[in-house]
């Protein structure tokens, strides 16, 4: 949950300085797509907020939902932060 909260915070941080007309610059269809998918994992590059959409790249593009990937399960562990020193 700590990681999830961090992501949500990051998205809010990105959204805050966007101009008020940013959303208007994105087509309604795309906005709807982001809104519909905001509870899921796809599209991979975008993250939707209740208000403004944000994107890992800039500004938006989507539909990775048609991907058919073989299910690959991986185990993750938190990194050792000391390994990041250099």
């Amino acid at each position: 949950m700590a990681q999830l909260r961090q992501v949500q915070h990051a998205s809010e941080y990105q959204a805050a300085p966007l101009p008020a007309d940013y959303a208007a610059a994105i087509s309604r269809q795309r906005l709807r797509l982001i809104s519909n998918l905001s509870g899921g994992r796809t599209p991979y590059e975008s993250l939707a907020n209740p208000g403004l959409p944000t994107s890992m790249t800039e500004p938006v593009s989507f539909d990775d939902s048609s991907d058919e990937h073989e299910l690959i399960k991986v185990r993750l562990k938190p990194v050792d932060e000391s390994e990041d020193d250099w």
Binding site: Q3, E45, E58, R75, V79, D80, D84
Partner: protein, 178 residues
């Protein structure tokens, strides 16, 4: 470094593309700049090979890059640390790339990625099913028709490490291989 494939792939090394960054002037104001230089393609293969349903062309809009940096730009201590960690996930932000022809001993940082419009490369999808590294006989891949200045691609081990570093740097998670 390996020979690059006919199609684009994550880890391709471009000898000269626009390198975009930001710097501070003496007054503390930020200035964006663009200058030609070497860079490594960060965008994942799967993100590049999807067709637009209407046009049949690649639908990717932006390609992400990280500039290639000379290791001599680092302090001697950092150079030594990076060489010593050449096969380790940490440090997460830096990937040691060893000797690259034309550019010497190099590395790249995940803390300075930037993007170029995909249209700069005039991308198309081409069949490469007869290539020995194609996934299948019917494989089609995103291929540049313009500004293709690639000189190679990073080694397979470096590409694996790059992906692990991306995971660690942006999510602070690492693969648990125990």
């Amino acid at each position: 470094m390996r020979i690059h494939l006919p199609w684009l792939g994550q880890g391709d090394i471009f000898g000269e593309v626009p390198v975009i960054g930001a710097e501070l002037d003496p007054a503390g104001n930020v200035h964006a700049y663009s200058s030609p230089g070497p860079a490594v393609l960060l965008t994942h293969d799967c993100a590049m090979d999807k067709p637009d349903k209407a046009t049949g062309l690649p639908r990717v809009e932006r390609l992400q890059f990280a500039r290639l940096r000379e290791i001599t730009a680092l302090s001697p201590d950092r150079q030594a640390n990076l060489r010593g960690a050449a096969k380790k996930v940490g440090p997460f932000e830096a990937l040691y790339l060893d000797e690259i022809p034309q550019f010497g001993e190099t590395f790249m940082l995940l803390t300075d990625p930037y993007y170029l419009p995909a249209r700069y490369f005039d991308l198309t999808l081409l069949a490469h099913g007869d290539h020995p590294e194609a996934e299948s006989q019917s494989a089609i891949y995103t291929t540049p028709r313009r500004h293709d200045t690639r000189i190679g691609r990073i080694d397979a081990e470096q590409l694996d490490l790059l992906r692990q570093k991306m995971l660690a740097h942006w999510t602070r998670f690492d693969l648990d291989q125990s």
